[in-house]
């Protein structure tokens, strides 16, 4: 319960800061030197936040659709042949550093939001795929047997049994993806994507700690809120299926 209150307070402080960042200037003033501005001014932090969230949302949704579809394909009878390969590729893919994936996307796609989106999408697909796979293959054999025994067609089994039962794990995969993407997107501003990383990098370049801290705080609070939001969804999904 205290957790929920803290989330609510964090969310309200964040909202207040995004709407009227200048009100918070006295708070950040001690972190600046030589009369540097305490609040990032070049672009509105609100618009950067929205753009940041937009990129992450698009990437997470795309990774979820792609990861889920792939997981469904490799767990069907006709796709079984791909299952070992898919597992290997996922394991290898997750050892690739997100920063390096981002850097490698630039030579192919150029600067801007594009490479960030692609890197986030590719990297984010892995946790979703892995978790969806675990959800689709991990259910008890009795359930599958019962579903077959009652005469459900494979498609009915997928929609009515397999996917609902895999939902909690799928949500957990989305949570991992969302939190990783949120952090990695900040690095996207080194390749000229419009994200909150811009604030942090401006702070690094001008040795203005206030910028670094406010950029970091906004992303950090967003990450905590999203993390807890997904966890609440997972809990509800688990309760519905009686897994808790």
């Amino acid at each position: 319960m205290t957790g929920r209150w803290m989330m609510a307070i964090a969310g309200m402080v964040l909202a207040a800061f995004l709407v009227a960042p200048d009100r918070f200037a006295p708070l950040f003033q001690p972190l600046t030197r030589n009369g540097a501005p305490a609040i990032y001014q070049q672009t509105s932090i609100l618009s950067l936040t929205l753009s940041h969230l937009g990129i992450v949302t698009v990437a997470v949704l795309a990774s979820t659709v792609a990861g889920l579809v792939l997981a469904i394909l490799v767990t069907r009878r006709s796709g079984r042949e791909f299952l070992p390969l898919a597992r290997t590729v996922t394991a290898v893919g997750q050892t690739l550093p997100p920063v390096a994936v981002l850097a490698l996307a630039v030579p192919v796609m150029g600067f801007g939001t594009g490479p960030t989106l692609v890197a986030l999408f590719l990297y984010g697909m892995l946790p979703v795929f892995e978790n969806a796979l675990a959800g689709l293959t991990g259910q008890s054999p009795q359930v599958a047997e019962a579903a077959r025994g009652m005469g459900l067609t494979p498609v009915q089994r997928l929609w009515q049994i397999d996917l609902p039962l895999a939902l909690p794990l799928l949500l957990a995969g989305m949570r991992l993806t969302a939190v990783i993407s949120l952090g990695t997107a900040t690095i996207g501003s080194t390749v000229a994507a419009r994200t909150l990383g811009e604030v942090i990098i401006a702070g690094l370049l001008s040795a203005n700690t206030a910028f670094v801290v406010q950029g970091g705080l906004v992303v950090g609070i967003l990450a905590v809120l999203i993390h807890h939001g997904f966890q609440a969804l997972e809990r509800r999904a688990r309760l519905r299926t009686g897994l808790d």
């Binding site: 050892t95 490698l104 949120l182 950090g220």
Partner: protein, 379 residues
């Protein structure tokens, strides 16, 4: 009618696309865009294209065994690398001295096709642990031999390397120091902390929440915040500066990586210890072991596989995150990545990114094998 291997069809399609698309890109100099040249467009390339296409299609036949496929995949990988080197050398001779030849999408697709084929074959062969170690060592050895041989020296990334080989060695050392040093520190601090929260459950929640929150701070910000914080510590805490604490150089990056590494080490130490069956712990205490003996002789050895899994997570994560040190003057391969991004010199970006990816990949696979080697069957 024999059944066709579906994964092989995927590899073949990927490979065929790679053959059709430009293998390399030829640019008049380091930063301007250039024109793509497909394998068929190179002298003798048409014949090689046909041979490769036939091999890729033939691999779809069900008759082919996994070891044959593995052989073909390895041969294919080597051939693709050699073709890249030869194309670069050839185009360089015919062009001006500033011209750059870099791998293009066709090269990457071919590499992907044969790489997937190799991965699929290795997966099907169910090799023993020893064999998988041997294969990893072999792959690293062959890659090193190709780089040393000079075959690829005409490729743009290697030319970028040639002009700064001393610097590369230094940044490579710095990168490894950052990744391994922070891992070492995290183990030194994290294992005792994990043991402590195992023994006093009251502290579990608070310690793990704090470490979890550290993980949510974006890496860029954590690295950045370390500079003023450590600068302040070095200036105000007596003896801190002398002990090596500093707000500039590699120290802030090392500290940030250390903080990120702490959560996996602490939580896996805890998970490993709590995972030891109660009967075993009971038996150890009941036979008259002291607390230290129970911990050192029974609990820690049994928790080792889980702890090693944390080492794997941290190692791979730190190799990747250490790139960000390049942005705050902490050294490492990130220096090349961010310099390259600033100068829009993509070859320089690759010079930083490719070794990082290779390092993470090798470390990840090696530690996976190590974890599997220590995992014991349950009694």
């Amino acid at each position: 009618m024999p059944r066709i291997q579906p994964p092989a069809v995927l590899f073949a399609l990927t490979g065929l696309a790679g053959l059709a698309l430009p293998l390399v890109q030829l640019r008049p100099n380091r930063i301007v865009p250039g024109e793509g040249i497909a394998l068929a467009g190179l002298p003798g390339g048409a014949a090689i294209t046909i041979v490769m296409a036939v091999v890729l299609l033939a691999a779809c036949l069900p008759r082919w065994t996994a070891d044959l496929r593995l052989g073909v995949a390895i041969a294919g990988l080597l051939a693709v690398l050699l073709l890249l080197g030869m194309a670069a050398t050839h185009l360089q001779q015919s062009g001006n001295a500033l011209a750059r030849v870099s791998p293009a999408v066709g090269f990457w697709l071919l590499l992907l096709a044969f790489g997937l084929m190799a991965a699929d074959a290795v997966g099907r062969l169910r090799l023993s642990l020893t064999w998988r170690w041997a294969m990893l060592a072999g792959a690293v050895g062959i890659a090193a031999a190709i780089l040393v041989s000079g075959i690829l020296d005409g490729v743009s990334v290697m030319r970028e390397y040639a002009s700064r080989s001393d610097l590369f060695a230094r940044e490579a050392r710095a990168h490894l120091t950052l990744a391994l040093g922070s891992l070492g520190l995290a183990l030194l601090a994290g294992i005792p902390l994990g043991i402590a929260v195992y023994q006093s459950p009251r502290w579990r929640g608070p310690v793990l929440s704090v470490l979890n929150i550290v993980q949510t701070v974006p890496s860029l910000a954590l690295f950045g915040i370390m500079i003023p914080v450590l600068g302040w510590v070095a200036a105000t805490v007596p003896g801190a500066g002398a002990a090596g604490v500093s707000g500039i150089g590699a120290f802030p990056a090392l500290t940030a990586l250390f903080l990120y590494a702490l959560l996996p080490v602490v939580s896996n130490t805890l998970a490993g210890l709590t995972g030891v069956p109660v009967a075993i712990r009971d038996a150890a205490v009941g036979l008259g072991m002291t607390r230290a003996q129970v911990l050192g002789q029974v609990l820690m050895p049994l928790a080792l596989p889980v702890l090693l899994a944390a080492v794997r997570i941290v190692m791979v994560q730190n190799i990747g995150l250490a790139v960000i040190a390049g942005l705050i003057g902490g050294g490492g391969f990130g220096t090349f990545v961010f310099q390259g991004l600033n100068q829009t010199a993509m070859d320089l970006v690759l010079l930083g990114a490719l070794p990082t990816v290779a390092l993470a990949l090798v470390a990840g696979i090696a530690l996976d094998l190590l974890v599997q080697g220590t995992r014991r069957p349950a009694p």
